[in-house]
Symmetry: C2
DNA sequence: TAAGGTTCGTGATAGCTTCTAACTGAACTT
DNA sequence: AAGTTCAGTTAGAAGCTATCACGAACCTTA
């Protein structure tokens, strides 16, 4: 025993229930946001009674942490797959937007308002730098035309976030700009702040992306 | 009666209690975020017992809405005062950052993750366009050097958010860019996503601002 | 096949929350 | 001085997180 790919039935069942809990949690988050997530409600929707869920997650916080981890994992995989299929930075940006629009609350769970005391576990920060690495890889292929700025010098001495990536400072700066600018557009769109303004968010996203790459 | 500037003592007292409730609410939000705001806890800190607060606010939602309104009001006043004292766009941007850092949760209450169903009352959208007007005013003073983009054409036909402001399309685009780019940097900084990355957020903010105005 | 340990799901319970309802007492009005 | 209004109280319903103790189903092992 132990050589099989199929786990013990006990563990299979356990994984399946855990997965269903998370599925219901995502449904609930999509409907009413992460702050309204209720273990009790999930349990009832699954036909079990409240405390049963505590066999699978130590508490609300652990469930949410698992959801955050899955969201990061999903985004990292999506971006990496996009990059692997030959996409450039623009392709990555569009994949990011598509991923975000697919489930706005999932994006906001990662990049939205955090709980003041919360500190992400190491596993999550690891996935986060995986995403950064994908972005950096795509940015090195971009032509560098603008002259070095004072901030380029600063970032050259503070590049631990690049995690050993050999990109030159201008590329680090560019990647950082991609992140913050795309997030600026996306987060406001997802939060509904463009609603009623009239213009098309997709067009503005493209304009911002174009300015980011050619400006 | 009715001619006096001093209100009736009944009403004075009422306003004062409402103000104190909001003060305690801000303290609590600063400590643990808006999702952890508890009417009960506020009441106890004020030496009253739970349900008393319902004399002053119809419920948790109404209190939060009032806080959002006050936050918008504070930001609009801050930016308008900054502009009135002769500041340009860069000055406005720095005032925005200072205002946000002064109470991160206050900024995030406005621009952070919203509850999916929530729709801001008209009074709030009014203040929001007041902020936009201040930004637009400052942006008209900026030199326009870059050629018109396709998005400039689009925004010319969708300018209801400018609320009658006579700025040309390039300026509308510029103001929009200011908003989304500065928000991109600020929201990630306030949410703690720059923590541990190494670089100085203030320097990056300045770099982004410089690129925004001269790039 | 029968015994044993492990694990799942339950109901009960404590303590928290929002919010409603009924009641008391003080203050202002007339 | 009498009557109205309004603040604040306690009691309570309904919901939540989370813990505990118990029974029952399951898997393993002898």
């Amino acid at each position: 025993m132990g050589e099989t790919g199929t786990k013990a039935p006990r563990e299979r069942y356990r994984d399946q229930v855990r997965a269903e809990i998370k599925e219901r949690a995502w449904e609930q988050i999509a409907e009413a946001g992460a702050s309204a997530l209720s273990l009790n409600a999930i349990a009832k929707r699954m036909g079990m009674s409240g405390p049963a869920l505590y066999r699978y997650f130590a508490g609300r916080d652990e469930l949410i942490t698992a959801l955050i981890r899955d969201a990061y994992r999903s985004l990292a995989d999506t971006l990496r797959a996009t990059a692997a299929s030959g996409a450039d930075v623009a392709g990555l940006a569009r994949a990011l937007r598509a991923w975000a629009l697919d489930d706005p609350q999932r994006y906001l769970l990662i990049y939205g308002t955090p709980v003041p005391g919360y500190h992400a576990p190491d596993e999550i920060t690891g996935i986060s730098s995986e995403i950064m690495a994908t972005l950096l890889d795509a940015c090195v292929a971009l032509p560098v035309e603008s002259p070095a700025t004072p901030f380029d010098e600063h970032i050259e001495d503070h590049r631990q976030w690049a995690d050993g990536h050999p990109a030159p400072p201008a590329v680090l700066h560019r990647a950082l700009s991609c992140w913050t600018r795309l997030h600026g557009v996306l987060s406001l769109e997802l939060a509904g702040h463009f609603a009623g303004m009239g213009f098309d968010p997709a067009l503005y996203f493209e304009a911002e992306l174009d300015d980011l790459l050619t400006g």
